[in-house]
Symmetry: C2
Subunit: 407 residues, 2 copies
Amino acid sequence: MPEPAGIGVLGRGTVGAAFAEQLTERAFQVEAISGRRPEIAGVLTRSEGDFEQILSDSEIIVELIGGTEPARELVTAALQAGRHVVTANKQLIAQHGDELFAKARDAGVQLRFEAAVAGVVPVIRVIQESLAATRITRVSGIVNGTTNFILTEMAATGAAYEDALARAQDLGFAEADPTEDVGGADAAAKMAILARLAFDTPVNLDDVTYEGITEISPSDIAYAKELGLSLKLLGVAERRGNGISVRVFPCFLHRGHPLAPIEGPFNAVTVEAAAITEITMSGPGAGGVETGTAVLGDVVSILAGEAPVDQTRERLEIVADVSSSFYLHLEVADRPGVLARIADVLGRNGISVQSVVQRGLGEEARLVMVLHECPESRFRAAVGEIAELEFLRAAPRAIRVIEEEFV
Amino acid sequence: MPEPAGIGVLGRGTVGAAFAEQLTERAFQVEAISGRRPEIAGVLTRSEGDFEQILSDSEIIVELIGGTEPARELVTAALQAGRHVVTANKQLIAQHGDELFAKARDAGVQLRFEAAVAGVVPVIRVIQESLAATRITRVSGIVNGTTNFILTEMAATGAAYEDALARAQDLGFAEADPTEDVGGADAAAKMAILARLAFDTPVNLDDVTYEGITEISPSDIAYAKELGLSLKLLGVAERRGNGISVRVFPCFLHRGHPLAPIEGPFNAVTVEAAAITEITMSGPGAGGVETGTAVLGDVVSILAGEAPVDQTRERLEIVADVSSSFYLHLEVADRPGVLARIADVLGRNGISVQSVVQRGLGEEARLVMVLHECPESRFRAAVGEIAELEFLRAAPRAIRVIEEEFV
């Protein structure tokens, strides 16, 4: 009978505790699948445990500390010592993935990180294994549960952003300092990871342009509903010419879009390629138990002897100025010639209008326009000009619209 | 430099041609991932090719003939000769899986079949690998694209079943003889495969009870719309007590159900477990190119050295009489006491009523009831009694309702 496989756990937060419990509870099942009985070799916390001892007793190191240091140092040491590593740490992979993948290859060990993106939703495995040989053209995702909860709440109740955030905090879906989530940085790190895997090319966190949802108002969502659209914080990584673009931004999705029905704290990712049309995967994006399950799945795959070793094979350019369709919301003085002036600015910038709704509000009027796709630089130039017009009563508000229905 | 890996292809239909083209086109990519360049070693068709020669030149046999014979004989020979096998053949796996898995284990080779269920949607890999150690409680799926296309068409246009079927045939979504699809047998074979993998227990095709969609009328769908429900042909494999139940039936889904938005020829599968809440995967359930991609994914995994070997570890009882909630549609003579008599039959059978809508139609009335969950045997007994009542004007119509909102 083979010896038990020692599993060293770094960190004992919610995910760490859930993982340790599941590993113990499912040890028999894991042994039946892999032929090896897993056993916790030790747990390292800030105050307890000896890393060197844990390392020497473990075949697999499970890193659940989060953040870049000391996680990076410990994972590096584990890989160099010839240990497989499983991590749920998106920042570690997004910022130091290339360096760590190289160390794993040098040592002939695995580095798995399913839980780093979209929790238990198996998007990493599907992209790395099922679609390894497929030429992926686009990955779109709702990869931050906090913001999706807030937007769902705003749409369902008409609540203001601040109130929806407070409710998310009450329910444990948002942290006391929600900046990383609501500002888009968390989603950006996850999209950097997905883009790297999907396109086999190095992607730095700096390559990802991102916006958050802090400026979204209930009226944006109300207008969207009238148009049959739902507002999501979307991450999009896609091929553009010979390069790629990786962005995170709030946008309106048409009802037929596969990500439009994703509500509350759920995450979902759609992968597109000519050879698959599209595949969408959804499920809880966080939660201690769910994330622990994703980590356990990686541990089982290592014990069962599966061994994808990640290595980028392309060097694709990052395209910054991509084309989008925009919704533009303007508060203007209600007088003749206003629409003509705005249309003139748009026309001079080569932007054509798909639809306009104008509503009088006493002395003011509200113009809501949906514009046809154009390069973002041109749109920004036009909005800059419009903002200077003397009859504008408030700063223009712009949100991207995903036009195409995927299905 | 290692030798190319010979791939022997059995069958040259739509999927076979698409697979061969992709393998050639992506050979460089496959080599980069796996270290081995794949090469078609030969193609066996009814009139061409020598199986023994192909076998001796191949490391992997890809079976794309379909049906049980000669596919079973050829796959058995390949496994016994120590060749890995990839197949897209649901009947082969549903009817002879245990026997073939045993041969693969004996020979120490892999038998992969991602394309056998839900085309390119990676449900097999996710259940077998990501969730290998997870105690799955339920798998629900829309696993037949033909029927989902027909039901979507009926809902969108109000078309009768026959007209929607004719349109599906025109568009290539249904075969000239659609019996296997519309009668539910195709979905039953796929659910047998999913149940076996999810619950680690032998499941025979005979263990799956199934119904099709041939009796669905436009008025069923019209009523459902009023209630905010959508009609799907659903496969459900779930734990019931210490056993399992595996069924395929048309049913109404509430709007919040993750499978409710799945339209047209798409497939989708939701997997539930305490440790994951739920994961839903969707995408095209058929198509030569898409299915070829699923086959290619399996080939790449074998070349990359991953090796899950399937073996059931449980012996769970098949539970036949499961509880469901039902929609019951009755055409009756419009006179006093009718509702009381029906309510009496339901009450005596221990079935309680959730809602009733009664509509007069001149001398007749239409009663549409939604009943609370009860064992199917009791519901059938009650419907049998109701059908005998002298004021019934047509046979009772019953469709299951999936009550719970998953999310």
